[in-house]
Symmetry: C2
Amino acid sequence: MGSVDFVYPSMNDHQCAHRVAIPPPQPFFKSFKNSLKETFFPDDPLRQFKNKTPTRKFILGLQYFLPILEWAPRYSLQFLKADLIAGITIASLAIPQGISYAKLANLPPIIGLYSSFIPPLIYAMMGSSRDLAVGTIAVSSLLIASMLGEEVNATENPSLYLHLAFTATFFAGLLQASLGLLRLGFIVDFLSHATIVGYMAGAATIVCLQQLKGILGLDHFTNSTSIISVMRSVFTQTHEWRWESGVLGVVFLFFLLITKYFSKRRPKFFWISAMAPLASVIFGSLLVYLTHAEKHGVQVEGVAVGRSFAMFKHYHIDGNKEMVAIGTMNIVGSCFSCYLTTGPFSRSAVNFNAGCKTAMSNVIMAIAVMFTLLFLTPLFHYTPLVVLSAIIMAAMLGLIDYEAAIHLWKVDKFDFVVCMGAYIGVVFASVEVGLVIAVAISLLRLLLFVARPRTFVLGNIPNSTIYRNVDQYPNTNNVPGVLILEIDAPIYFANSSYLRERISRWIDEEEDKLKSTGETGLQYVILDMSAVGNIDTSGTSMLEEVKKTTDRRGLKLVLANPGAEVMKKLNKSKFLENIGEDWIYLTVGEAVEACNHKLHTCKPDSTKEETQPLNNV
Amino acid sequence: MGSVDFVYPSMNDHQCAHRVAIPPPQPFFKSFKNSLKETFFPDDPLRQFKNKTPTRKFILGLQYFLPILEWAPRYSLQFLKADLIAGITIASLAIPQGISYAKLANLPPIIGLYSSFIPPLIYAMMGSSRDLAVGTIAVSSLLIASMLGEEVNATENPSLYLHLAFTATFFAGLLQASLGLLRLGFIVDFLSHATIVGYMAGAATIVCLQQLKGILGLDHFTNSTSIISVMRSVFTQTHEWRWESGVLGVVFLFFLLITKYFSKRRPKFFWISAMAPLASVIFGSLLVYLTHAEKHGVQVEGVAVGRSFAMFKHYHIDGNKEMVAIGTMNIVGSCFSCYLTTGPFSRSAVNFNAGCKTAMSNVIMAIAVMFTLLFLTPLFHYTPLVVLSAIIMAAMLGLIDYEAAIHLWKVDKFDFVVCMGAYIGVVFASVEVGLVIAVAISLLRLLLFVARPRTFVLGNIPNSTIYRNVDQYPNTNNVPGVLILEIDAPIYFANSSYLRERISRWIDEEEDKLKSTGETGLQYVILDMSAVGNIDTSGTSMLEEVKKTTDRRGLKLVLANPGAEVMKKLNKSKFLENIGEDWIYLTVGEAVEACNHKLHTCKPDSTKEETQPLNNV
């Protein structure tokens, strides 16, 4: 930053400084109503109802809550063809996954099938996403198992456990629906992308570890999900490991991962990976039936079915209304022997790839599942547990998004810390602890941003009236006698003390520097308020104190570009009267121009001289 | 906002657009160290040690922790004279208040005197404020009484109660000193001015209500501080009220308030209100001694002494170092039969008005208190309780800052809600509940600010290249075919979904408006990033999605003035490559200029055409 070759930015005389406006006053209740509306209805859901007849409004309202009324009348044969393919594809994924995840939740496999039958029908009527494929997911299955497992033992008291699972589903649905109805869906926004990446990877890790039970054919296993107790459980009973089961598990897992990898490279063949789990179940069952492997250490399941994740991602897209749909689906589902369902991401992606056109694909899937329930259940009699474990592991490994974690590390170290906090919390403690850790770190970051805002010194960009951060633009020139500071956050109670100290430190440092180089002494301090979105009463007091400090030091405080909210508050708190409206400018450039004018017209020794009218200007 | 008479802001050809710089990369550990330093050492306490010899550094270090070493060598007789007057003045306030507040804490009055003797001596050595007068305060006295009262009954087990009070003082001191040493003083910043106003008024209200016991001469009284139980306690025993005590109480209260009002109007006579409490004690004691009023319903205290508040205010001024001094003072004090002390605001103000020069005034006060302890204790034998109650009430009424509450209502409604939350919580529940309510509302506000940032449409200020919020500057012109949006907060996980929805709603609304008026269709969306202080990975994903949406709609996304942090993150997340560096401008003016050039050179039908080189430019 060179100050010697500084050229005063020219501003023609007729281009006099612009006035900073105080926004027109608004009645309290109007502004209060506006804030409430922005907080709870940012998407303005009632916009489409404006200027419509009452009948039209009623129809639109019905369509709003039951989107099926919108798309059903225009449903064509072509759509049906597409939805048929998509529905059968996702059914072939839903059946084995449904069985597997029900096992994860310590529920009878048939419950997993029921959960892929009733909820999709309800979603098809109420849901607004055409791609979402409804079903159970691994993480919530695991959560049900760990939460209910603390109260009731699923093997000792299966009936009570089952009823508790339905009750939990009912209340989860109620919570979702009411969050949606109360427009509180934004609470979910506080789960950042980084939190979800870490949380999902952690959940996937512990679900995979749980599958060691099935793969190794163990009878006894820990109820805890923490990595330490699972590892202890696995390695204290090495004599119980069944090699037949282990080999079969590794082979199926390998097969599933290969098909997945292949389909990922060639999206056209999405159906290969979609069909692989069902193929594994059928092949595994045949194998057991033909070889009587159940007598050689391969455990076998009675009946079976399940799902994947990213419900958060879908809330983002569909918002509060979608929460109502998913909540209703769970409330109704819980009355029909279904447990917690949502829209798993992986299966929705398959649905999308399969070319689904409407939510009808969910209906097709439900019908396919019903057929399975009615006619194909006996086939699953010989399904080996190890195949289900392999299916779960293959699905879970896809959730460990290490590439996203690397991306976080590269782009934003703090987000990486959040992600690792969630991962480590989930893996070493529990799913709840992981979530709490991640949310706490994320909130801490928000608070730190407000508590410790950045302040920059601005310099003049050569041959312009633009002033920018000297760290970002090293070729800027400083303006002799003027210190320009930018504050980068709202001025609130949480940062007002800090900003007061930081501003006086900037002034100290600038004066020290000028003293050591023997340049013109400091005369003006310009605060660029462009990035100050709001200010509270602690903030206005802080500005008053800064004004007093600068006055005492014989410096003049100048504000540049305060926004609407800030001007309103400064006006009400009488700070505008205090500083004088002449010392508030629309841009930093105009403020500097005015300072230079005064600096060269008269050398102010005290602030009093400056406030007197200047004859030469 | 008229768009018909829009004149394109002229920019000369040689003034080509400036490039937005990506700040030079910094090694991770250096930037990490810088952030840590800014968070914990914003005042840069080691700055004065730079470029000094080791001996000098050692002396400066000693002076830093023991400021007495700095001022003692230059102490003059003139200073002593000033400090003597100030010291005696604050002692005359400290003695009666010390006795009164000790009673509030259910401690023997002599403990109140001890607490005005040892801690001031320690503060005189370690403290850096020359105005602070050390002593006990009403609010912490009340807190001690309510906290310890839950565990031990002070009348049944006075010895245990006393020891618990010293232990509490020791640990409070340890906490204060460690917060200071660990540079965590900024935690106190989260108590906003509004919180303190409400909290103090609430505490003052309940302390006043407690004094109804002394004023009315009641023997039995509730231990609870809530207004409901106090009122019940007062009005269920109307037959126990002593009219002699009541009359005396009202007379003394009236006298104290009158002197206070007088001194406030004429600051020169500050000593009148400072001396009034001591005069009341002496006069009251004489009155009891002469009239034997103790036999007519006026309760009498054995020995007596107390204080006021605003410790938070003083932390603000003195920071972490001051916390170490106050903490040490309490740690040492607790070993010498002192209970919790700090620097009460009201007495510090008296000290300041009395013209104190150094912390020596505290030493003088300590000596005066010592004399009182040694020789004047018998005089207090006849001090009537009702005088002490009147002294406490008079001090407390000064803490109810209703003018500040009115100011909060006028300037910032949200701060008023915080203030009332604290007040109602303290008065109707307890001091802890009030504090928790106020801090929770304040934090909620911070979170809401980040979760629901404001977005504005910008317009051109006539005859300039300046673009500002159209709500604040209603005479701005909009630019045909260009929508300019300003985002007013950092883009974080907590607001990225909201911003995505809000931006697409702005685009919808703008297109609807243009369609209805038949103007030029929308071609460009400029996001003004000036006020976006930071961005996280959820934020960069959000921008990518906005880019996709605008591309799909055939619009071009343009960024204006992203700051250093934002440019760094956008660069690392490859968004810069995605959007193309040609679409990032240093100012909104330059972005609009570039858009207009392209708009008039070729009418883009799809976004693809635009990215091709333009021959005419």
